[in-house]
């Protein structure tokens, strides 16, 4: 029975499941570096999923869906930024408000636009194209694992690299990180931390929008109520787990995707999945605890070091 559960399909499934997590986590880690904790990713993903379907349905193209979702993502990112940065509202109140707004709005629009409750699907919705990497065809394991995924899967990996380069190899990334870590230093250097924070919020909106599109247009072209299903919070967990570093967050996202996919398969064979599903969340708390303890230890050592010098 173990073979039924743990096999290559599981890993393939993991890659699919991890993709929206990766995308959202990339967005969230950008705002994190800019000093903003965004707990509204859940809502942003949901909006992306919905408007992806809308765009694809009405314009018969997944590209249209993607563009629409991205546009909405930019709007939400701007909204978030305006309230948190300019109006100085509490970032998690706005995050919760966005989650609530997204939940209500998507269900409302589901009824108003499509006239259905619960879920919407239609053969007219165009899914995201698959990408076939010809050179992988025929290679035993790699073909199943890596080939013929939705375009966004590959896009997400490319974005990880791009975000890494942006953050650590360009001045703009340095400014972003400085805006979050020590905005005054950036300000006295003549760069506006506010601008950096706005950019990070807009990018987060875009990435979460993409994550949502992958959910609704990726495999089954379907939108269900509350489709984001906690992924926004798992992405948050991945960011914390990965200490907001793109590569480490990617690994965390894969891990969490694995547990998610594992959970579904366990469910199919009748084994309770809840405990594996808990792992990302409990793991994050453990990570926070370990980091806090090590920081305390470091402080203690620093003081003892001073004592030595006297």
């Amino acid at each position: 029975m173990l073979k039924e559960v743990i096999n290559l399909t599981l890993l393939q499934h993991t890659i699919r499941t991890a993709t929206p997590l990766i995308l959202a986590a990339l967005g969230g880690l950008l705002t994190q570096h800019a000093g903003i904790l965004n707990i509204g990713m859940e809502g942003m993903i949901l909006l992306g999923a919905f408007f992806g379907i809308v765009g694809s349905y009405f314009f018969s193209s997944s590209l249209a869906g993607t563009l629409l979702a991205v546009a909405i993502g930019i709007l939400v990112g701007l909204l978030f930024a305006y309230f948190v940065i300019d109006l100085k509202s509490d970032e998690f109140i706005i995050g919760i408000a966005i989650n609530m707004l997204a939940g209500g709005l998507t269900i409302f629009l589901l009824r108003s636009i499509f006239g259905v409750k619960g879920a919407f699907s239609s053969p007219d919705i165009v899914p995201l194209p698959r990408f076939n990497m010809g050179f992988l065809e025929g290679i035993p394991i790699l073909d199943t694992l890596l080939n013929n995924h939705t375009v966004f899967v590959y896009v997400s990996w490319i974005l990880v690299v791009l975000v890494y380069v942006y953050l650590y190899k360009t001045p703009y990334g340095i400014w972003l990180r400085a805006a979050g870590e020590f905005p005054e230093a950036l300000e006295t250097a003549g760069v506006s931390p506010r601008k950096m924070q706005y950019i990070s919020s807009i990018l987060c909106g875009i990435f979460c929008g993409l994550a949502g599109v992958h959910l609704s247009l990726g495999y089954l072209t379907l939108f269900t109520e509350n489709m984001s299903a906690n992924r926004g919070f798992i992405a948050l967990a991945a960011i914390i787990f990965g200490r907001a570093h793109p590569i480490k967050t990617l690994i965390a996202a894969f891990m969490f995707g694995f547990f998610d996919a594992l959970g579904i398969r366990l469910q199919v064979v009748g084994i309770p999945s809840q405990f594996t599903q808990m792992i990302p969340y409990l793991g994050t708390i453990v990570v926070l605890f370990v980091v806090a303890k090590s920081q305390l230890a470091r402080k203690k050592r620093a003081i003892e070091g001073e004592a030595h010098n006297e």
């Binding site: 990180r177 230093a185 006295t188 001073e306």
Partner: protein, 509 residues
């Protein structure tokens, strides 16, 4: 005759509750080292932050090389060649030295990538040119304060600064690091033709380093002199002297008994450095013991230790014979100690709470204000607040207004009202009249003397020598965490005490 490089005319800047700069005018000549001195709150930092574009003046005009200019942001200042090294360093801790130095003006490869190698090279070249050794690859968070300051200076030089403002540069340096800094400054000016403005309250440094010195006090310009025409006494008088002559306050003879004994206390400050290096003294009922010293020599930490807000590293103290070391604030208060904190806004009150709410703290679990310690008797609390407002002349339309809306003087009177109403036998009073108006100062001083006459023991920490001399029976000088002198008030003069306050003389009676 050197040109007037910068002129600031009639600069006024207000913040809520305080006028930081009141019609201040100053000029800076090319190639000079110009010191701006004054006590905390004098407005020196604000003035220079306006010059650097971090603040906008409410009124006034800045001239650069004779032309009027508007400096709306640090970018404008940088463009004029003005650079500022802040008191609190503007360095991103997790970034390397090189990254911090080029922050904002990073060298590029193909326009969008950081050319880190070139940044490193630039850092090395700068380091060579100005004789300030730094390791480009080191992370700032791992470096000592002295080296961090070097990075700040290099940063400023890298942006092409010809005029360098240093804000309290030696506040955090060891004596050796200070020597090193002076060498650097002299080199910058003599060999490289820079102009340096140094903000400080340390008079010996001013005299050792500067060409001219401007004195500010309570937001106003007092005067500018050539350093060769000045000495510590003249400067000190300009810094703290007042126009108003105070009347003599009557002191009664009161029985003296030891109520507080401090034994060889050593304690660290928030950075982990030793702020108190073995302090011992005793305090008696019916006396005011003044702790004189320039701020930053351990006074704050001493007060925190004695009021339960800071742990000691070594040493003990007793209150009425009871061992009180490392007790928490509640226990200390129960031993009969009241505390007027030096920072009223962050510690002495809650700006969002009403006067009533601010007044009751410390009594909020005691009868008759809290029945069985739990149920608040609103009527009694309000009556008490009303009475105290009247007794202590707190000017306010009602007790329900939020404390943040009071003027500084009234905030302080409110705090004094509260702390003095406990009938405590020991009062620890830190900078009690900082930033408040003359009338309020008079009032507070009268109250302190009255408490003394009633037999309370008062520990007075103040950077204001006039205040120390007006109120104290005995005076202790504190320098770099150690007591450098202990005197009876009539034994020492204001001029002499400066020597003890700055560590030039040491002696214990």
């Amino acid at each position: 005759m050197a040109e007037k490089l910068i002129e600031m005319k009639n600069i006024t800047k207000e913040f809520p509750g305080v006028v930081a700069n009141d019609n201040v005018s100053i000029d800076i000549k090319e190639g000079e080292i110009h010191a701006i001195v004054g006590e905390n709150g004098a407005g020196k930092s604000t003035l220079m932050k306006i010059l650097y574009g971090l603040y906008k003046p409410d009124s006034g005009q800045i001239y650069f090389k004779g032309n009027p200019v508007e400096i709306k942001s640090p970018l404008d200042a940088i463009r004029l060649g003005i650079g500022m090294v802040h008191q609190h360093f503007m360095l991103v801790p997790s970034f390397t030295v090189a990254e911090n130095i080029v922050l904002g003006v990073e060298p590029r490869r193909r326009r969008i990538f950081t050319d880190y190698n070139r940044a490193v090279k630039m850092t090395e070249e700068l380091s060579e040119e100005y004789g300030l050794k730094v390791d480009p690859h080191a992370r700032v968070e791992s470096l000592s304060v002295g080296i961090q300051q070097r990075i700040e200076i290099l940063k400023v030089l890298h942006k092409g600064a010809d005029i360098i403002i240093l804000d309290e540069p030696t506040a955090v340096l060891t004596p050796q690091e200070t020597e090193e800094l002076f060498r650097v400054i002299r080199r910058l000016v003599d060999k490289l033709g820079k102009t340096v403005i140094i903000i400080t309250h340390k008079l010996q440094e001013v005299l050792a380093l500067s060409d001219r010195v401007t004195v500010m006090r309570q937001g106003k310009m007092v005067g500018t002199l050539k350093t060769q025409d000045a000495n510590e006494q003249i400067l000190a008088e300009m810094m703290v002297g007042r126009e108003v002559l105070f009347e003599e306050l009557e002191k009664k003879d009161v029985a003296r008994e030891e109520v507080l004994r401090v034994n060889n206390i050593k304690a660290r400050d928030n950075r982990g450095l030793l702020a108190l290096r073995g302090v011992s003294f005793s305090l008696h009922s019916g006396e005011i013991l003044g702790i004189a010293g320039v701020e930053g020599n351990g006074q704050s930490e001493l007060v925190e230790v004695l009021t339960g807000l800071r742990q000691v590293e070594e040493g003990t103290f007793t209150i009425n014979g009871i061992e009180a070391t490392n007790m928490d604030p509640l226990q200390i208060r129960e031993l009969g100690v009241s505390h007027i904190p030096e920072d009223r806004l962050s510690r002495g009150l809650s700006v969002d709470a009403t006067i009533t709410e601010n007044m009751i703290i410390g009594n909020h679990r005691k009868e008759p204000y809290a029945v069985r310690g739990i149920h608040l008797n609103r009527k009694k609390i309000r009556e008490r607040t009303k009475r105290l407002i009247k007794e202590y002349d707190v000017r306010t339309p009602s007790q329900d207004i939020v404390a943040g809306n009071l003027s500084g003087g009234n905030m302080q009177k409110m705090i004094v009202a509260r702390e003095f109403s406990f009938d405590s036998k020991i009062l620890i009073v830190a900078q009690p009249t900082r930033g408040i108006d003359i009338g309020a100062i008079e009032f507070v001083h009268k109250e302190i003397i009255e408490k003394r006459n009633e037999g309370a023991a008062i520990l007075l920490v103040s950077a204001d020598l006039d205040e120390i001399f007006r109120l104290s029976d005995r005076i202790i000088t504190l320098y770099e965490g150690q007591i450098t002198g202990e005197f009876l008030n009539k034994e020492i003069s204001k001029k002499e005490i400066g020597l003890y306050m700055t560590g030039k003389a040491k002696g214990l009676n």
